[in-house]
């Protein structure tokens, strides 16, 4: 058993209106970042958890996302990194 640090990204599903992302995108355009095409604002979680292997830690994190951390109707999640804590 080792301790892993798991970084999780959760963002509003593409195609759904994300008014926060839209407001940020508009502000970036105002600042002159004319190349900005889309912004979605989500959450970044860092979970520390004990697991046998990096793969097991990844599976654990996916299960957390499906059961609590992400809303399956409106959000997509991604396990960004799994590293030894």
């Amino acid at each position: 058993m080792s301790r892993y640090k798991i970084a999780i990204h959760i963002v509003p599903r593409r195609g759904l209106l994300d008014p926060q992302g839209k407001a940020v995108s508009d502000a970036l355009h105002t600042l002159g970042f004319a190349g900005v095409r889309d912004v979605r604002v989500g959450r970044h979680l860092i979970v520390e958890a004990d697991a046998d292997t990096p793969d097991a830690a990844d599976r654990l994190a996916r299960s957390m996302c499906e059961r609590l951390l992400a809303n399956p109707v409106t959000e997509d999640y991604e396990i960004a990194t799994v590293s030894q804590a």
Partner: protein
């Protein structure tokens, strides 16, 4: 008839619901603490408005795992009535008792105002006291009330008559300006397929007496009473 009103940490509509039941309807009500495992014999469960668990993670996401929710879900699975208002609607969606989700209002603002609703379905245990198509004035108070579901779910809800309330203008028209939060197809309230779980963002318990600005929410409570019986 006995109403059980759940109090989560952060609920703020529980007292209003209690007053609506006891003072306006003249029936019995009990508060159910979120850590309880017992509905105390309630015939009807109310999931009230508020900000349970500070809306941490997502509105309703944590409350759904409160001990009392196991009993509430079992109550609904027996076909018994659950009235889920505002944050309660968010919790019911998170718990899978109703389809879809409630997202941040389109304009990013908390909206506290009277809105006009059209009763789309009067053949439910919650709305039998209204005329089909009746327009009612009921207040909203939420920052995350934009009802969202995929197109297939929305089509199914509409196709089998599960949309109970819609935001409309004074003439009953389904327009964008009448939609206070950007909800899909102006949906303000939906009911479960079995017809026993009603979720709605507006607050009928805050419109049960003309002194509150409207008594248009009272028939909803009277409908429940007529359906379940005293």
């Amino acid at each position: 008839m006995k109403f059980g009103i759940v109090t989560f940490p952060g609920s703020n509509g529980d007292y209003d619901a209690y007053q609506a039941v006891v003072e306006a309807l003249g029936e019995e009500a009990v508060y159910l603490w979120h850590k309880d495992h017992d509905l105390q014999g309630a015939d009807v469960v109310v999931l009230p408005g508020g900000f349970s668990y500070g809306d941490y993670l997502r509105a309703g996401a944590i409350a759904r795992f409160s001990p009392i929710m196991r009993e509430v879900v079992a109550h609904a699975e027996r076909g018994a009535p659950v009235l889920a208002i505002c944050n309660g609607f968010q919790i019911a969606c998170e718990a899978g008792m109703l389809p879809g989700a409630l997202l941040r209002n389109k304009e990013l603002k908390f909206s506290s105002q009277f809105v006009r609703l059209r009763v789309e379905q009067s053949a439910t245990p919650f709305t039998s006291g209204y005329q089909p198509g009746q327009l009612v004035r009921i207040p909203i108070a939420h920052g995350e009330g934009r009802y969202t579901a995929d197109a297939a779910t929305l089509d199914r809800l509409e196709g089998i008559g599960l949309v109970v309330f819609r935001y409309v203008d004074a003439e009953g028209g389904i327009t964008d300006p009448a939609n206070p939060n950007g909800s899909a197809r102006n949906i303000a309230g939906i009911i479960s397929e079995r017809g026993n779980v009603l979720g709605m963002m507006p607050h009928p318990e805050r419109a049960v007496d003309a002194r509150l600005g409207s008594a248009d929410g009272l028939p909803l409570f009277e409908s429940i009473l007529a359906g379940v019986g005293a």
